[in-house]
Symmetry: C2
Subunit: 343 residues, 2 copies
DNA sequence: GAGGCGTTGGAGAGCGCTCTCCCGGCATGC
DNA sequence: GCATGCCGGGAGAGCGCTCTCCAACGCCTC
């Protein structure tokens, strides 16, 4: 393999100095248009590609950021964590939003998984070694030690969703309570009187907010008691929770389910127990993930502007990287109701 | 932010030369155990972390490989490609297998998407800049130009699945025809006589092999004609294909569906048309993805050893990187039948 | 026409690391 | 006793790039 050409080679080919070629490439300062053209041709002729390692060494920038998916690695089975992540369309939307912001800027997202203590340590080491300039963190788990570790290492980072413990780190989130209220209002507008809910794991702030927001909104409509079954945001847990709910409250005519994946699990259970959706039981999900459209019937749900939120995370992170003294901030997005056939 | 310590700092703290510290870190040559201990303490004291850019610059290695998911970016909607990828549990299994091999070796996988010509160019540029030492490529699309581009740039790469056009590149694959035969044998063993199939997109070699393998095996059992509807490996396409098949062959009692995701789409259609699964119609999928277990009833399917295959890709790539003169090879894995409730 | 100023290109010093030399010291062989 | 070999450590040359100086060269002004 022929050694790839260096700046020096291009400079020689163009009959100028290394510095001038560098200036042309990086668009810094004025360079005579004629010389610029000569240099560009030399670059094309030699097939020159800048060496990132050399550039990083001096700029102390990598042009890459880590997109970390963090959570509890279930110890059972053979690393089901990655499968879990890839089975959840939510991450696709996050990736879309992040890539949408970063790609035009030539910044590369690097996907990393931090499901074990070892993996977390690797993520921190990776960042400290200067493989990436910062991290976007999406946790699937409430008590995630990673945000704290990032703050302690004073690495630029932005979270998706408010951390369970208060630490000085920027995050974006959605107004969960507002979303839950939209669901409540909609169920009431559909004339549902015996409404229940399936919540997410209650140690997750988002799950708490959705539950309490829903209960408060229903209370405002004159329904002081809303039965609840707890799931853990997985399809299977939604199935199980729906079974429990039906066993205990066979007369229910409306369910608010804290995410679409659990709702997708719940729908076949309702059908299996002879309930038609939406005629007998109206179902409202949360997230507007692709699970919502994959369900039969397609789900009425609360739409997170996930792509926008992810893009905002990328923007925030980029700002933190450019100016480390940037104060930490939180940005809260407003959800919206998407009506489909399940209500 | 205090500048992070360099080798020089550690060397000074330990009272030795840079070279010695480097030798301790990289475990090269013998270093006096006493000095080794001193150096280690100095590293711990200073909180030293090697700078990867500097190291890469001289070793011409990054310790990272790109995990590229390549395919056609549907132009409709807002970048649905990432969502598509993240909705398919198959990629989770690939990631698991790859990470399982790489993590113990301290190599980082970098996930990249190559759904447009621009993104493909970025992937190539990324590798040529020396951001990663090689690429593992998983295509969702038949005519993918990326393998050729990689070969032309003489970048180390390994594919998942045989490329549609013959090019000198290593790949791993599964014996699709054997898998299809397993499905055929099983359906026949279950006493099914009016069997049909839903195929994948027929420009994909894997889809071709599954279809022809199935037809050949059924022919060997005395069923010369097997009706087929073509899908594109998505849930929706499975739904549509099942509708077509039922409309044309209402009497069918067994279906082999070329992947689990399409099967997941097909099951509700069968149910909707009053067919019980498996009593009236037996369904066999392919992949043993988590869609197989998420389906109701859970799917009998053909199990790819995807994790093993992915790990093997990583191993092959590592070998290619270590020795660029390594000849290209292909490794074919044997699938197996997993019986669940759909047959 | 001389001095000042803005513009443009070159020289060269590193960034932090690895790795090849080389050298000193000690055990060994004749 | 001296030459020989080996082992452990240091010196220093880069890897390919950026970026700060600095020099050269107009051009304007007085």
């Amino acid at each position: 393999m022929p050694a790839s050409p260096t700046l020096e080679d291009v400079a020689r080919a163009a009959g100028v100095s290394r510095a001038t070629v560098s200036r042309v490439i990086n668009g810094i300062r004025n360079v005579d248009p004629v010389i610029q053209e000569t240099v560009r041709r030399a670059i094309a002729d030699t097939g020159y590609v800048p060496n990132r390692a050399a550039r990083s060494l001096v700029t102390r920038r990598t042009g890459a950021i880590a997109l970390v998916v963090s959570g509890a690695g279930e110890e059972s089975g053979e690393s089901p964590f990655h499968s879990q992540v890839f089975a959840d369309p939510f991450f696709g939307r996050v990736a879309s939003g992040v890539v949408g912001f970063l790609r035009p800027r030539g910044i590369h997202p690097i996907l990393m998984f931090a499901e074990t203590a070892e993996a977390r340590a690797q993520v921190i080491a990776y960042l400290r070694q200067g493989n990436a300039d910062g991290a976007i963190l999406v946790s699937t788990q409430a008590e995630d030690p990673l945000p704290r570790l990032l703050v302690e290492a004073s690495l630029p980072a932005v979270l998706f969703a408010r951390p369970a413990e208060p630490i000085p780190i920027s995050y974006v989130d959605v107004a969960h309570r507002t979303g839950a209220k939209l669901a409540a209002d909609h169920l009431v507008a559909r004339g549902r009187l015996r409404v229940a809910t399936i919540a997410g794991p209650l140690n997750v702030p988002a799950a708490q907010d959705r539950l309490s927001g829903f209960r408060d909104a229903m209370a405002a409509h004159g329904h002081p008691y809303i039965p609840c079954a707890e799931g853990d945001f997985t399809l299977d847990s939604g199935e199980a929770a729906m079974e429990r709910l039906l066993a205990e409250y066979p007369g229910l005519d409306g369910v608010f389910i804290a995410n679409d994946l659990m709702a997708q699990g719940a729908l076949p259970v309702l059908r299996h127990h002879g309930r038609r959706v939406p005629e007998d039981v109206a179902v409202v999900g949360f997230d507007d993930s692709s699970a919502a459209t994959a369900s039969r019937p397609p789900l009425t749900t609360i739409r997170h502007p996930v792509e926008d939120m992810a893009a905002e995370m990328a923007r925030l992170l980029a700002a933190h990287i450019d100016d480390p003294d940037q104060p930490v901030t939180s940005i809260i997005f407003e959800p919206s109701l998407v009506v489909r056939d399940s209500t």
